[in-house]
Symmetry: C3
Amino acid sequence: MFYSLDLLGTIAFAVSGTLTAIHKKFDPFGVFIIAFATAVGGGTLRDVLIGRTPVGWMLDLNYVYAIIGATIFAIIIRKKINYLSTSLFLFDTIGLGIFTIIGTEIGVQQDLHPIICVALGVVSATFGGVIRDILCNEIPVIFHKEIYASACIVGAITFLALSTFNVPVNINYIITSLIVILIRLISVKFKLSLPTFIADTKG
Amino acid sequence: MFYSLDLLGTIAFAVSGTLTAIHKKFDPFGVFIIAFATAVGGGTLRDVLIGRTPVGWMLDLNYVYAIIGATIFAIIIRKKINYLSTSLFLFDTIGLGIFTIIGTEIGVQQDLHPIICVALGVVSATFGGVIRDILCNEIPVIFHKEIYASACIVGAITFLALSTFNVPVNINYIITSLIVILIRLISVKFKLSLPTFIADTKG
Amino acid sequence: MFYSLDLLGTIAFAVSGTLTAIHKKFDPFGVFIIAFATAVGGGTLRDVLIGRTPVGWMLDLNYVYAIIGATIFAIIIRKKINYLSTSLFLFDTIGLGIFTIIGTEIGVQQDLHPIICVALGVVSATFGGVIRDILCNEIPVIFHKEIYASACIVGAITFLALSTFNVPVNINYIITSLIVILIRLISVKFKLSLPTFIADTKG
């Protein structure tokens, strides 16, 4: 079940990348690269930083197939996607929860400090979107909009805390992803976002 | 011969990076960094993704010398470069063919799945240009212009297919690079490019 | 002493990243990511390129604590930061000197060619700023403004030269950092910068 949720998250991220790239008028190759980078970018950066190479998607082709399928699907239904945007948001949010857990857990497996495990969870979940935005020459949306990464941070800390108390791993997965998903749903529902700082007016 | 073609490709990519950076009014350090990143960026990303470190150019200084030489050469002849632009295009196209083969072959050596080998061929050949464009704060040109990456994909698949049929490696090199170069020449000659998608007008 | 200078450099880079991100109106998460990337980006890229993973800051939490502290500090005093900008410049310059030495030395430890060691010194010292600028969707400032990377190149070469003559490592550290700092101070004081090239007016 966990593995299929992981693929679901990958698909959601690929769809979101595809739609962004179509909007930018990229050609099919460009669209596919953006879809791919959005879907696996976070996990790839995580793997490169800890030296877990060849990176994940090179060793499990199911991710590649899922992304190719999702990209073609998103291209075909692109004109109806506004009807589906709630599903897309839900998929993306599920992906966020799952990728946070996977990244955090890999940090634990590598015996890294809890703070670094949280960082790896956040990187896994959010840097696909950052890489997508950089490739599209945009300021990464997660740096200035909505509560997104914060949900991952809370999720990663929850996951580590429950692990410490020996909560069975399946239950831990469910609780942690639900927390990430809930924070995200509430923040979008009530249009919550982190405040920004007022810069020096003299500078 | 293959090795010197590889250096020729490196030189071509370095020249193209130099001209881009001069156009952006970068200082000599900036120009050199862009030339370097364009020339070795694709191979470097490939090496990092599969854990082949220290990355290639750190272990064979000839690449570094070739890039330094090409950058200085391009700076000197920059005002005459439009007379030479056909040569530049030819060099770049040769580089494209060679880098595709090298990337694909390294994937095979690492026992990776054929699809991943194709991906590594494309990354090696095209991501130098992507990194150049990102460092120059532009949308990567290969995402929305001309047939470029598609030529690499066809080349990489050809290379793998011919390897399967035990075609001698030298002949395989020649056929594959010729295919990449031919596709590229034809697409530029006839101004072919991939179609883009029409996005949802309602969204 | 050397280690604490290293932390001082990290803090200076984190402060500079924080101020840039606040200026861009990023939210607290975005500000922290930019601070972090500016502070450790150069060393991280160096480590990834040579396969020294998990990368440095994952194994020594003092860097993480220093960056968190520096970011909070910079957020609090952001309105007074123009009064402190000389200190910030000094910190940043010290960081530049120290990071150049660290990067060069790591190259030597890995038995890499002197030219590659110089490159690693420059990457360590300057690519935090490059990554900061890319994440903020700006053209990297070091490619077109002031003498910055050039100071690192001179410093790295000095460091290697003095090592060859068996100058004691502590004295080498001091001389090299002073040279980098001096070049930087002089170039800012007299507003020196590298000339740019005049591009072809016909092209």
